[in-house]
C-alpha cells in the first residue's frame, strides 16, 4: 500500500526534523486519525498543525509510532490526553505519567492537554470522560493531580471543559468557575471546547455565554470545535458530543464570540466517529481559519501551510 512506501521505518529514536518543540500557531488545525495517515505520508495536506490523542501512541513500537514520527517532521503537534483521569480521587497512575513523559520527550509537542473529568477508579479504566461534582473537594483533587502531572511532564498543560449528561446537586461552584479556578491554582491553562460548552449548556439548561464571559482570555491556550448529535435518550432530547459531523451553526457562533473576546488562539477541528474524507475535515478547519483571519488577522505567518 502506498502508505507504506512513504514511511521511514527507523529502529532508532528521536526526532530529526526541523520542528523541534515548535509552537502550535494561533491558526486552525485538525485531529490526526489513522484513517488519514496515507494522505499525510504521501503529501502535505494544508493544515497549520495537528493534534493526536496521546494514549494512541503509548505503544512500545510499531507502525503507528513510525507514522507519527514521519508526519511530525512537517507539522507542529499537540498531544491531547484522554486517559490521565485528572479528576480521580485516588490520584494519578505513575506509570501512565511516565509513559506520557516519554512520548512528549520523543515528539516534543507544542501543546499538551487533558480533561476536567475522570476515568479511573479502583484501578479500573472506564474509557470515558466522566463528570465531576463541582465541589471544593473535587477542585482540590483536580488541582493536586494537575500539579503532579505538570511536575512529571516538566511543562504546563491545558485542561479542557467536558461535555456532560448528568450533574450533581452537591456541586457548589459553576462549571466555568471550577475550570478557571483549577487553572489559576495549578498554573495550567484552559483548552476551551466551545462544542462542549454548547452541549453541556443545552443539557443542563445554562447559558453558554455566561460560561464564555466568565473565562479570562489569558488562560485560554487552545479552542476545540466539533460536531455533536441532537438526539434522544430514554425518550427525552439530549445533545451527545459524538464528534461525528460538521460543526453546528450555534457552535460556530460561540467560536466567533470566543475569538472576538480572547483574540487569536489555536483552533482544532475534532472528528472521531464515522470519519469523513480528509477534505471535509480541512473544509471545517478552513472555515475556522477564515474566522481567525477576519477576527484576528495578526496571526503569525506559517511556513508549513502549503
Amino acid at each position: 500500500m502506498a502508505a507504506e512506501d512513504g514511511m521511514a521505518f527507523d529502529h532508532g529514536n528521536g526526532l530529526a526534523g526541523r520542528n523541534k518543540r515548535d509552537p502550535v500557531p494561533a491558526a486552525a488545525g485538525i485531529g490526526l486519525r489513522h484513517t488519514h495517515y496515507g494522505e499525510f505520508l504521501n503529501g502535505r495536506p494544508a493544515t497549520a498543525w495537528l493534534e493526536v490523542h496521546s494514549e494512541n501512541y503509548l505503544c512500545p513500537g510499531g507502525p503507528r509510532l513510525a507514522t507519527l514520527e514521519a508526519i511530525r517532521q512537517h507539522y507542529p503537534l499537540s498531544c491531547h490526553g484522554v486517559g490521565l483521569s485528572l479528576g480521580s480521587a485516588e490520584g494519578l497512575d505513575p506509570g501512565h505519567l511516565e509513559q506520557l513523559r516519554s512520548l512528549f520527550d520523543r515528539f516534543e509537542p507544542g501543546l499538551v492537554s487533558e480533561h476536567v473529568s475522570w476515568s479511573t477508579t479502583g484501578g479500573d479504566y472506564l474509557n470515558d470522560l466522566l463528570p465531576l461534582p463541582y465541589t471544593e473537594e473535587a477542585l482540590d483533587i483536580l488541582v493536586r493531580n494537575i500539579g503532579q502531572a505538570q511536575d512529571a511532564f516538566g511543562r504546563r498543560i491545558l485542561i479542557e471543559n467536558p461535555s456532560s449528561y448528568v450533574t450533581f446537586a452537591q456541586s457548589t461552584i459553576p462549571e466555568w468557575e471550577f475550570c478557571a479556578e483549577a487553572a489559576r491554582r495549578s498554573g495550567c491553562g484552559l483548552l476551551l471546547d466551545v462544542n462542549n460548552i454548547h452541549v453541556s449548556a443545552h443539557n443542563h439548561g445554562y447559558d453558554a455565554l455566561e460560561f464564555l464571559n466568565a473565562i479570562p482570555g489569558d488562560l485560554v491556550g487552545e479552542i476545540h470545535i466539533a460536531g455533536h448529535a441532537d438526539t434522544e435518550w430514554d425518550g427525552r432530547p439530549v445533545l451527545i458530543d459524538d464528534h461525528g459531523s460538521t460543526v453546528k451553526e450555534a457552535v460556530w457562533d460561540l467560536l466567533e464570540i470566543a475569538l472576538s473576546r480572547f483574540g487569536p488562539k489555536p483552533v482544532l477541528m475534532e472528528w472521531d466517529l464515522d470519519l469523513p474524507p480528509l477534505e471535509t475535515l480541512l473544509g471545517e478547519a478552513g472555515r475556522a481559519q477564515a474566522l481567525l483571519d477576519r477576527l484576528a488577522p495578526e496571526r503569525p505567518a506559517l511556513d508549513n501551510v502549503a
Binding site: E55, G62, P63, D124, Y125, V166, N203, H204, D234
Partner: protein, 256 residues
Amino acid sequence: MLPDLQTAFCAGTVGRDTAAVAALADGGMENGHRFGIYRNNIFQSLTGVLAAAFPTVSKLVGDENFAVLAHRFIAAHPPQRPSLYAYGGNFAAFLAGFAPAVEELPFLPDLAQVEWAVNEAYFEADAEPLVADHLAGLAPETYARLRLHLHPTVRLIGSDWPVWDLWGAEALPDPWPPGEQEGAQRVLVRRPESKVDVVMLTPGDFAFLGALAAGDALGEAAAAGAAAGPDFDLATCLAGHLAGGTFHSGYTIDAS
C-alpha cells in the same frame, strides 16, 4: 464524597449495578435518566476496541454475538490501564470459559490467541531482525556454537484447529474443518519491520522455534524439530527464517 461517587459510578456502568445508580440519584445526581449514556459510551467504545483487535472472531460470530461476548468480557475484566492497545490480552482465556460460544465454535479461543498475537506483534518494541549478512563474517568453526534468539515480536501458537486458515476468514468454514490431529495448525506471528506476518509452520519448524524460545541451543532445538517432524531440515528452516526475519539480530556465540 468523591471516592464514593466514583466507586458508585463504576459499579453503575461497567458493573451494571442498578442499585448503585439508584444510590447516585439519591445522593444528588441530576438528570439520572441519562446515566445510561455513560454506560453506553464505555461498553460501546470498548466493544469497538475489542472488535478492532479481534476482527476475525467478530466477523465469524456476527456483530450481535460479538457484542454479547464483549459486554460480558468488559464487565468481568475492565481495562486496568488507560492504554487500549493493550486491552484484550485475556479475551482468548475468557472465550475458552464461555460455554455457549465454544460449544458451537470450539476453535474460537485459539483463533483469538492468533489475533492477539498479531496485535501484540504490531505494537511490540521495534528491533532489528537477523539476516544472513549478519552471520557472513563469522568463522565457520563458530557455527556450531551459534545461539539464535527470536525477534521480540515473535509469537508461536499451536492449535488443534486450522487457525491459520481461519485467521482473516470472512465467513465460517464450509465444510466444517476437522479438529484434533487432522486439522491442527501451528502459527508463527512476527513483525520484523512494519508488516505483521502470520506464517503457517510445519510441526518440525514449530517445535524448533519453540525450543529456541525456551532457550535451547541450535543443536538441541534441531533435535526437537526432527523429533516433531521427520521432514525437518535445519538448513532449510534457518534459511527461511533468516529471510523472513524470525530471529533477532542479537545472536550470541556460546563459549567453546
